[in-house]
Structures are given as structure tokens and as C-alpha cells.
């Protein structure tokens, strides 16, 4: 296993910049998830690490070795593709052993590696089948098996679960995480699905428009998003953004939406317009008269709890609660935001404001 160091990497296709200066260090054995909307450059970054594309500027080191100009075959990385990319004319056995055969690994070693990998993934009964005779989930496992028989420097995953249905996706998420725990292999995982990122990552790298927006643990990104993009991308249901103002009042500085005061803010906060970010589940609903006043717009039960859509001074707002409140559309409620459970962003730049 090895660490991966990415320094000032740039890449454009023709005149279109795709990556605008990426710096990232992935520690040995770490599971890092690159997440972002499509077109943010996450897949390109993965392909640059893999060597499937050449970088324009900057440097990539794997295990300390500069790999900028090494072809993929000399980088000793394994990759799991979204389409699985199983060789259609080869059996599961041949698919999984192809890399080892290319390396002229002795037969006994190949057999042992195959045995280990197929047992881990429950592929024993399928070993002689061709890919077309496998279900989607089984193909996914073979793609995983093809990667783990090799014992590579690092694993690269390119949206490997996107083609699976929801139930299977959840199960494979769990299995990949368990595999990572057992193998301790350096892993770079690309996805557009923030739930995959949150559940699997040691560290998340949130990307947008070719720039890294924030790097941190899942809870870090969830609780302390660096900007509006990260705040809005991570979390489901998504964070509410309200047009608000910070004002100085008799009781100190506070943030208000319309006439309603939502929460106190530290005295050092400058006054003016801000974007107020509220996680739906951090908002407490109270009886009308307490806290800020809002009207119920719609109630969506989720089983686990309910999502309550509110109208607060003409702005839409979602709250999530596990309580089963007897709320009806049109009813008036109060809402309270505990201290420290909201974020303020600068309206122009979208950057997080201190406090």
C-alpha cells in the first residue's frame, strides 16, 4: 500500500479547464471519497491518478514515486469502473486472474489469490461463468474481485455503485467498507452521491468546477461546511438557505429573517445581509407564540419521522423531526434554533462567516 500525493495538478481539454490546481495528500491506508456534481472534475482527477489521462501541470506521486509520465500499467493501481468493464469473452476466473497472468505470476500463487478473493466475495460458485451470465450485483463483485486479487498500491473506484438498485447499493456500500477494513488498502472513491461519501469515507474531498471546496471528515463537512456549495451538497434533506440579516439589538447581535429573530450571534459579527444555513433536523418546532412564527405548508411523513415544509416570512424552509406531530397545512407553528446549530455565509462569495 502507498500514499498518494497530488500537487498543483491542472488539466484542460482544449480550452476548457477541468482541474484548476488540485493539492491533495492521501495517506497510506486511507479511504478518501471525491464527491461533487457531474462535471466537477472528480472523475478526471481519478483518471489522472490512474494514468488514463496525462496531467498538464503539477505532479502526482504514488508511494513517493513520481508517476506523471508512467503509463497505467506501471503504476500498480487497481480500478473498479462504473460499467464494471468485465472482459466479456473471459470467465470470472480469467477476468480475475488477468492481471496476475500479465505479471507472469506462478500458477500456484494465482490459484491461491483467486481462492482468497472469491471466498471473500462469495464468488466460488460463479468462477467458471461468463460475465453475461451474471446479475448486476454479481458483476460488481467480480469487478471488486479483479481489483483485490492483485494486492495493488491503491484502489480506485469510479462510481462503482451507480448501476445498482438502491437495496443492492446499500449492501455493496457495506461490503466495500468491510473489505477496506480487512485489507487496509489506500482507496480513492469517486461518487456523485453524498450518502455514499458520508457513509464510506475516512475523509471527503468535495469538488466543484475543478476546484477542491473542502477536505475533511464526514462530520466535519456536515457540521462545518466551508461554503454554500459544500453546505448544500452534503446532507439529505438538504440544508435550508434563508436570506437573512445580522442586526445589533438591545440584547446583542442576532440574525433575523424578516422581522423574526432566529438566533443570537457573537458580538464581533458585522451587521448586514447574510445567508443563513439551517439543517432541517436541527430546527425545533414549538407551539405558536414561541420563537419565530411560520406557517405549515406541507407535511411529508418518511416513516422514520416527518419533513415539515414551512413558510417563514415568504421563504421556504424544511424541518425534519422524528416526533409525529399532528400538524396540518396552514397551521401556525413556532420554530427555534439552538445556539451553534446554524451557519452564516457571505451572500456574494458564499464563503462561511466566522461565528
Amino acid at each position: 500500500m502507498a500514499s498518494i500525493d497530488i500537487a498543483a495538478v491542472r488539466k484542460s481539454y482544449g480550452a476548457t479547464p477541468v482541474l484548476r490546481g488540485i493539492d491533495l495528500t492521501i495517506a497510506n491506508g486511507e479511504f478518501v471519497v471525491l464527491v461533487g456534481p457531474s462535471g466537477c472534475g472528480k472523475s478526471t482527477l481519478l483518471r489522472l491518478i490512474a494514468g488514463l489521462e496525462l496531467i498538464d501541470k503539477g505532479e502526482i506521486r504514488i508511494g513517493g514515486r513520481r508517476v506523471n509520465d508512467l503509463p497505467p500499467k506501471d503504476r500498480d493501481l487497481a480500478m473498479v469502473f462504473q460499467s464494471y468493464a468485465l472482459y466479456p469473452h473471459m470467465s470470472v476466473r480469467d477476468n480475475m486472474s488477468y492481471a496476475l497472468r500479465l505479471r507472469k505470476t506462478p500458477k500456484e500463487k494465482i490459484a491461491a489469490a483467486l481462492k482468497g478473493a472469491s471466498a471473500k466475495l462469495g464468488l466460488d460458485a460463479l468462477i467458471e461463468r461468463k460475465p453475461r451470465a451474471l446479475s448486476g450485483g454479481q458483476r460488481q463483485r467480480v469487478a471488486m474481485g479483479r481489483a483485490i486479487v492483485r494486492d495493488p498500491q491503491a484502489f480506485l473506484f469510479d462510481e462503482p455503485l451507480s448501476n445498482l438498485d438502491a437495496r443492492l447499493r446499500e449492501q455493496m456500500r457495506f461490503e466495500i467498507k468491510k473489505l477496506h477494513r480487512d485489507l487496509g488498502a489506500t482507496s480513492v472513491y469517486v461518487t456523485h452521491d453524498q450518502i455514499e461519501a458520508m457513509t464510506m469515507a475516512d475523509r471527503i474531498v468535495a469538488m466543484n468546477e475543478g476546484v477542491i471546496q473542502q477536505v475533511g471528515s464526514p462530520s466535519d463537512l456536515y457540521d462545518n461546511p466551508a461554503n454554500l456549495f459544500v453546505a448544500g451538497f452534503i446532507g439529505s434533506p438538504a440544508m435550508n438557505f434563508l436570506q437573512a440579516r445580522t442586526v445589533a439589538g438591545p440584547g446583542g447581535m442576532s440574525v433575523t429573517v424578516g422581522q423574526a429573530e432566529i438566533a443570537k450571534v457573537p458580538p464581533a459579527t458585522p451587521t448586514g445581509p447574510v445567508v443563513l444555513g439551517l439543517r432541517p433536523e436541527r430546527i425545533t418546532l414549538t407551539a405558536p407564540g414561541q420563537g419565530a412564527q411560520a406557517a405549515v405548508d406541507l407535511v411529508e411523513p418518511t416513516g422514520l419521522g416527518m419533513i415539515v415544509h414551512l413558510d417563514l416570512d415568504g421563504q421556504q424552509l424544511k424541518t425534519f423531526t422524528t416526533e409525529r406531530l399532528p400538524l396540518k397545512a396552514g397551521e401556525r407553528v413556532g420554530l427555534m434554533v439552538p445556539p451553534g446549530s446554524f451557519c452564516l455565509f457571505a451572500p456574494g462569495t458564499g464563503e462561511r462567516l466566522a461565528g
Partner: protein, 310 residues
């Protein structure tokens, strides 16, 4: 883990070389094909075009001078040329239309699963394997009332008063080569259109059927738009090939009777190999190349607008 020994090594000295090789790779793959095409087709094409400006008659040692645009002036005044041009238009349009219509019908029939499809497909595609001049000889034989059955078939169908040879009728002779050409060319259209039909996702039809679209409506709103790009390129290629193909006409009618089946391609052939006037033949060929290029560009433009609409 196995590459610890390598981890200390500096950037490989041949990094630049790898980038150059990567850049050159596609050109290397293309090179053999391009070299051959350039040497055997493009250089001779340019030489051939230069003949158009020379007075070049084979076996005539006095010929060979550059005469500028004289040939093109002669072409302008050549009634045979205008006649051949008109015949080319008829020949090409009728052949392409019939091949296309019948090929599309065949493709639609073969696109549904039924028993014996594989065998029938193989059988109806066979004519394409027949050398065109052999099929020309064979069709000429079949059109002959002494030894062929077709005149009697035409008579029975009421198309002819008496069982005559269609190839000797100045008014209808062109239909002989046209039938042979259509026979030979249906498979090409059927193959390409069948392939295009099979690449239309099935669920689109199901969705349309659920929405209540009838068979005709589904054909009009799904099949045709999906086929349009393939149709355009196939029609382009076939038109050019058919306009250029002289062999059926040379074999079956020699352009006769009374030049009624003479098309440009067969006229060029006659000029070059019977009158040995390579200069004039090349000038005619150059005119034809320009006409076909203009046609191709027009069709490509149409195709682009069709693609842009989707």
C-alpha cells in the same frame, strides 16, 4: 509493496519520449491505410485531373499537349454529354429510390422475430455477393425472349403486348440495367437499415404503445427520426456508387439502343477505352467529380440540420 526499490527513482528520462509516442500513436495506426490511399488513389486522381487539360489520345503520338479548358468547352457543346447527364439523373434517382424503398421494406420485415429469420436473411442478402457484371450477363440473358423467361412474365402481367426484349426498346431499355442494379443493391440498404433498426431501444416503442400510438404513428415518430442519420449517409454513399457504376450498362446495353441508356460513367468508359481519348474522358470525369462533391456536400448539410434538430 513490491515497488519499494523503485520509489526512490527520479522522473524517468524518457518521459518526453512517452508523450511524443502518445501523440504519434494514432498517426502510426492510420499510416498504412493513408499511405496506400494517397499513392494509389490520390496521386493518380491528381494526374488523371491533369489529363483533363491535355489533348491525350492513346496510340496517337502527336497528342499530349496542354490545351487548357478546351475539353470543357467541348463538353458544354456535346449533346451526348447532356443526354448522358440526363440519363445519369434518371438512372441514379430511380435505382436509389427503388433500392431504398425495397431495402427499407425488407429491413422492417426482418426486424421482427419470426421462425426462419436467419435463413431468409442470408438468402435475400445473397445477390450482393454476385459480381455485378456476371449479374448483368445473367439479367441480359433473362430479358431475352428466346432464352429467358422474363418477357413472358411481363406479358402475363400485362406490362407488354408481345414478349419483346426490353433491352432493345429505346424507350424502356434503361429499365433492364435498373432492375439488375436494384436486385444487386437491395441487400446493402437492407443490411445497414436493419442494423440501424436494431439499435433503436425497444423500450421507446413500448412507451409509445402505452401512450396509445398506433403502428403508423410509431413508425413516423420513432423509427423514421432514428433512421434519418443512417438513411442520409447510406443514400449518400449509394448515390455516388450507383452514379459511378458503369459495368451493368456496359455489359447489358453498351449504352444503346441509340444512346438511350448511356450514362456519364458508361460514356466516360466508352471515351476512354473504345475511342482511347483519355483527355476527354478525364475532363468528363472531372465534371462528374465536381457534381458528386456538390451533391455530397448538400446531403451532409441536410444531415447536419437533421442531427441538430434532435
Amino acid at each position: 509493496m513490491t515497488t519499494l526499490d523503485l520509489s526512490a527513482s527520479p522522473a524517468p528520462p524518457h518521459a518526453l519520449l512517452r508523450r511524443i509516442v502518445l501523440k504519434a500513436e494514432p498517426y502510426l495506426y492510420c499510416f498504412p491505410a493513408l499511405f496506400l490511399i494517397a499513392a494509389i488513389m490520390l496521386v493518380p486522381l491528381i494526374v488523371g485531373l491533369s489529363y483533363a487539360f491535355r489533348d491525350l489520345v492513346l496510340l496517337d503520338p502527336a497528342s499530349g499537349d496542354y490545351i487548357g479548358l478546351t475539353h470543357f468547352g467541348e463538353i458544354w457543346a456535346d449533346a451526348n454529354f447532356w443526354n448522358a447527364l440526363q440519363n445519369t439523373a434518371i438512372w441514379t434517382i430511380v435505382c436509389v429510390a427503388l433500392q431504398f424503398g425495397l431495402g427499407l421494406t425488407l429491413a422492417l420485415l426482418l426486424n421482427q422475430p419470426f421462425r426462419g429469420r436467419g435463413l431468409i436473411q442470408a438468402l435475400v442478402f445473397l445477390p450482393w455477393a454476385v459480381p455485378s457484371f456476371l449479374s448483368g450477363l445473367n439479367w441480359a440473358w433473362m430479358f431475352n425472349p428466346v432464352i429467358g423467361p422474363l418477357p413472358y412474365v411481363f406479358q402475363a402481367l400485362g406490362l407488354m403486348q408481345t414478349p419483346d426484349n426490353i433491352l432493345s426498346s429505346p424507350d424502356h431499355a434503361i429499365w433492364g440495367p435498373i432492375i439488375a442494379m436494384v436486385w444487386w443493391g437491395i441487400p446493402f440498404f437492407a443490411i445497414t437499415l436493419l442494423a440501424a433498426l436494431q439499435s433503436i431501444p425497444k423500450d421507446i416503442y413500448e412507451a409509445a404503445a402505452i401512450d396509445g400510438a398506433g403502428a403508423v404513428e410509431r413508425f413516423r415518430s420513432i423509427t423514421l427520426p432514428f433512421l434519418a442519420p443512417t438513411m442520409a449517409i447510406t443514400v449518400l454513399l449509394r448515390t455516388v456508387w450507383i452514379a459511378n457504376s458503369a459495368d451493368l450498362i456496359v455489359v447489358m446495353t453498351h449504352g444503346g439502343p441509340a444512346d438511350s441508356t448511356q450514362i456519364l460513367a458508361s460514356y466516360i468508359f466508352t471515351q476512354a477505352f473504345q475511342r482511347l481519348d483519355f483527355g476527354y474522358a478525364s475532363a468528363l470525369a472531372a465534371v462528374m467529380l465536381v457534381l458528386l462533391l456538390a451533391y455530397a456536400m448538400a446531403l451532409v448539410a441536410v444531415r447536419q440540420t437533421l442531427l441538430a434538430r434532435h
